[in-house]
């Protein structure tokens, strides 16, 4: 079977005739999409891809079949953000002093939408993420994904990674007490995804204002800086509700 290899998202949908397959590397994900008679197959595994290795040689291989009888079917691969909030744990906690403002850059892994003839058939993340619980206690909260982050404060030090989206979080502490960020709940489903000219993905900017009492926080989602030079790739998957805007501090940080 003739195979093509892709290492970045194609700009447009691709035609894949019968007997051909497409191999796509995306972070830890190795995905092979093949077109057979009366069916399409996906085979994927999660591992650090080794050059020249067969897919599934390292890591468990998962194969799925889709009965689609459309000889001229086109496939499209599109990036998007996660379907749940992501709790990022800085490698070292950051303390924000009273009456100060800073911007923290957090990277969150991207997801991939695989469509055949505009029908969504598979959603895959670029890495396997752990689940975590984020909330006041074990009774109230939400199920999130968990990652770690360097939480850089200097945009020039950001490492370009085509499998992650950078979220700038502008935090303004208007209270009288310092705030230590040990975990940050990034409400990813409410953010839009953009792409810079060099291929780096970025999201809407999250602006958090910590009120005087340092218990309540006001959230605002703004377009990214230099939005004019960015290409919008995907809208937010969830609409922003009024109740979302005001949250207590323990629902954002911990």
């Amino acid at each position: 079977m003739k195979q093509s290899v892709l290492k970045q998202f194609p700009a447009k949908s691709l035609a894949l005739s019968t007997g051909k397959s497409l191999l796509f590397y995306f972070g830890d994900l190795s995905l092979c999409v093949s077109h057979h008679n009366y069916e399409w197959r996906t085979e994927y595994s999660y591992c650090k891809p080794v050059v020249g290795s067969a897919i599934g040689q390292y890591g468990k291989l998962i194969m799925e079949r889709y009965a689609i009888n459309a000889p001229g079917a086109r496939i499209s691969l599109a990036p998007r953000l996660a379907d749940r909030a992501i709790v990022s744990r800085p490698l070292a906690p950051i303390t924000l002093l009273p009456n100060s403002e800073t911007t923290v850059y957090v990277g969150t892994p991207l997801w991939l939408d695989l469509k055949i003839d505009d029908i969504l058939i598979k959603e895959l993340s670029c890495v396997i993420l752990s689940d975590t619980w984020f909330g006041r206690d074990t009774l109230q909260g939400e199920l999130c994904y968990s990652t770690s982050t360097r939480a850089r404060l200097d945009a020039k030090q950001l490492v370009r990674d085509s499998h992650k989206a950078i979220t700038p979080i502008v935090i303004s502490n208007q209270g009288i007490k310092s705030i230590t960020l040990e975990r940050i709940n990034v409400p990813v489903p409410f953010l839009s995804l953009y792409q810079e000219k060099d291929g780096q993905f970025t999201t809407s900017t999250l602006a958090i204002v910590l009120e005087h009492n340092v218990i309540d926080a006001k959230l605002e989602i703004k377009p990214p800086l230099q939005a004019d030079s960015l290409k919008k790739v995907a809208d937010s998957s969830k609409p922003i509700k009024k109740a979302f805007v005001y949250r207590t501090l323990d629902l954002l940080f911990a």
Binding site: V87, D131, W133, T138, L143
Partner: protein
Amino acid sequence: MNSQLNSPTALPQALEDLLSGLLDHAWLANAWRAFIILLAGWFIAKLITKLTSRFTAEILSKHHQILIKRSLFWLIFSLFLISALHQMGFDLGVLVGAAGIVSVAIGFASQTSASNLISGLFVLSERCFEVGDIIRVGSSTGEVLSIDLLSVKLRTYDNLFVRIPNETIIKSEVINLTKFPIRRFDLHFGIAYKTDIDQARRVLLQVAEENPLCLDDPLPLILLQGFNSSSVDVQFSVWSTRQNYIALKNSIQEDVKRAFDREGIEFPFPHITFYAGSTFYTGADSAPLPIKHVGDSAKA
């Protein structure tokens, strides 16, 4: 009087009197009115219950809806029934008196059922579990199929049907295994005394980190429970979503076993060291019993 009844014309006359009584216009009119009242009552009760279920569809569970529908229907219909009986000319005071006596008799006879009925109302109002939850009552664990007036029905994991009277539910401890979104699994085991505890802790945390079903937060917990005769007892607690609890319970135990085998950490088994020597055990002075082969046993 007897002679009148014995006369050949007495029976037809009595029949004629009865028939004329039955066909009395006033009585017939009352009967028709009562019938119309009952019919109207039935339709009105049906209409009201339908409207009620439509309004409560989003607020209440299906079970509560059925309960309210039935109760409301019979309440409304019984009002129309009383009105119909009154129309027919029945003295309701007599009925009430008779009903009082009957209810006392029924009450004595159905104490348990009444207790279950009232307990059922309390169970419903408390809402400590709902249809679909997994609960444990005594030695029975299962999925709640229905919460009825007299009992709660469960389906156990091995597909058995269990009926638990509501009175038992009210009186005993009920554990709802699916009330909260996340759940902790506690694994108790022992490690050998010679094991490096820090190494064991590192290995266990690594196992938790690599298991995708294990939540990163709340953090896994490792507690030393005590020093047993053959082992150091450890509790390893990890969290998962309630849907993944069984899968985590299976996988984490396998992962711990494999990781311990790989790292050379021993799961101890009970064993006794026996010291014997010329004196009672005094530590270094004792020597083990010498065992020497002296010969084959003589054949019989």
